[in-house]
């Protein structure tokens, strides 16, 4: 590869150009002082562009920008939500997908518990069975029976 072929490739990142071209470029750079100097210029320019744009941006007072953004977002976007609490719960569940899946079963388990409770009241359920549904942490569901507690799902239960 000669300089004319190498120059347009200077500044490319690994994997951005054809592997054969990349190998030829590296071989050329190993022997060409001028192209090594050109590559150094490309890198220096990158530094100046990044620095310079941040310097330019710093010259403007951006104090009112956030207010302008907030004014453009309809208030309804913030209503109907409890700021913080619900968001934190969603974040927790998003980061703990097993718990989230388990918590999705909670309504079904509650319905089962209610069914069993009503069933017992009618006298059709197991004699002497005391059923209570509780929830520990966000998802651990425990059935307390006369035979002892039974953990159905959840990671946060303490093993009772």
């Amino acid at each position: 590869m000669r300089c004319a072929g190498a120059i347009p490739l200077l500044g490319s990142r690994p994997g951005e150009i054809d592997p054969t071209e990349e190998a030829l470029l590296q071989a050329h750079l190993a022997t060409c002082d001028s192209c090594r100097a050109r590559l150094a210029d490309v890198e220096a320019l990158g530094v100046i562009v990044r620095d310079g744009l941040m310097v330019e941006a710093a010259r403007r007072d951006l104090a009112g920008l956030a207010d302008g953004v907030m004014a453009r977002i309809p208030a309804s976007a913030w209503r109907g939500e409890r700021p913080g609490a619900l968001g934190r719960a969603r974040a927790f569940l998003r980061h703990h997908r097993v718990l989230a899946a388990a918590s999705a079963l909670a309504p079904a388990l509650a319905a089962l518990a209610l069914y069993l409770y009503i069933d017992r009241g009618s006298g059709a359920g197991p004699a002497g069975l005391s059923v209570e549904v509780t929830s520990e942490d966000l998802a651990a569901i425990v059935l307390d029976t006369s035979d002892g507690p039974i953990i159905l799902v959840g990671e946060g239960a303490n093993g009772t």
Partner: protein
């Protein structure tokens, strides 16, 4: 202690306006820098920045947590800035082949990097060149400026640049080459370091 971006994103998704405002304040400088780098107009860059944050709010639910939030936001910004250029200044768009550069003298290889060097005293020159950057960018055609800013400030790959600018990868490389060549010549000229210091290509 400042909350991480992802925590603020989650809170903003949950309807917390203060968390959203904190995200705006935290990222507004860099967002404005990307916008200004592309549109080269302070008021337009302000509008682009605001629009970027409004769209960020609209699309928060789509943000995937395995991506870098700041990069995601800057890409929204760049997309808006490019759309603004296409919409508002079509008459000023120029293709590479149309760019006149009679007054530019090519900088000698290595002159910029050598001038910057690693000597602490040369950081003065680096600051001086950074201060002149805007002036140099103003003299670049928009098609060159956008590709250079997106590459250097936003870190986009050739493929991403091609997709973002709707041009072939070869055109991306060509525009980057021309943009860098002009910027090096302009900056070297501003700093008075454009005298050839090395021999040309073999």
């Amino acid at each position: 202690m400042a909350l991480p971006d992802l925590e603020l994103v989650e809170r903003a998704r949950g309807g917390d306006p203060e968390a959203f405002r904190e995200l705006v304040v935290r990222h507004q400088r860099r967002v404005y820098a990307v916008a200004l780098g592309i549109v080269r107009d302070r008021d337009l860059a302000w509008d682009v920045s605001q629009e970027a944050f409004v769209r960020m709010h609209q699309h928060l639910a789509e943000f995937r947590e395995d991506a870098a939030f700041s990069a995601w936001l800057r890409r929204i910004t760049a997309r808006i800035a490019i759309d603004v250029l296409r919409r508002e200044r079509p008459s000023r768009r120029q293709e590479v082949e149309d760019v006149p550069e009679p007054e530019l003298r090519e900088a000698a290889p290595g002159v910029l990097s050598t001038a910057l060097g690693t000597d602490p005293q040369q950081t003065v020159l680096r600051r001086e060149l950074s201060g002149k950057l805007g002036e140099a960018l103003d003299r670049l055609p928009e098609v060159h400026r956008a590709v250079l800013v997106l590459r250097e400030l936003d870190g986009l790959s050739y493929e991403e640049l091609a997709e973002r600018l709707s041009i072939p990868k070869g055109t991306v490389m060509s525009r980057l080459f021309h943009a860098r060549k002009k910027m090096q010549a302009l900056l070297a000229g501003y700093a008075g370091i454009d005298a050839p210091g090395r021999e040309g290509a073999p």
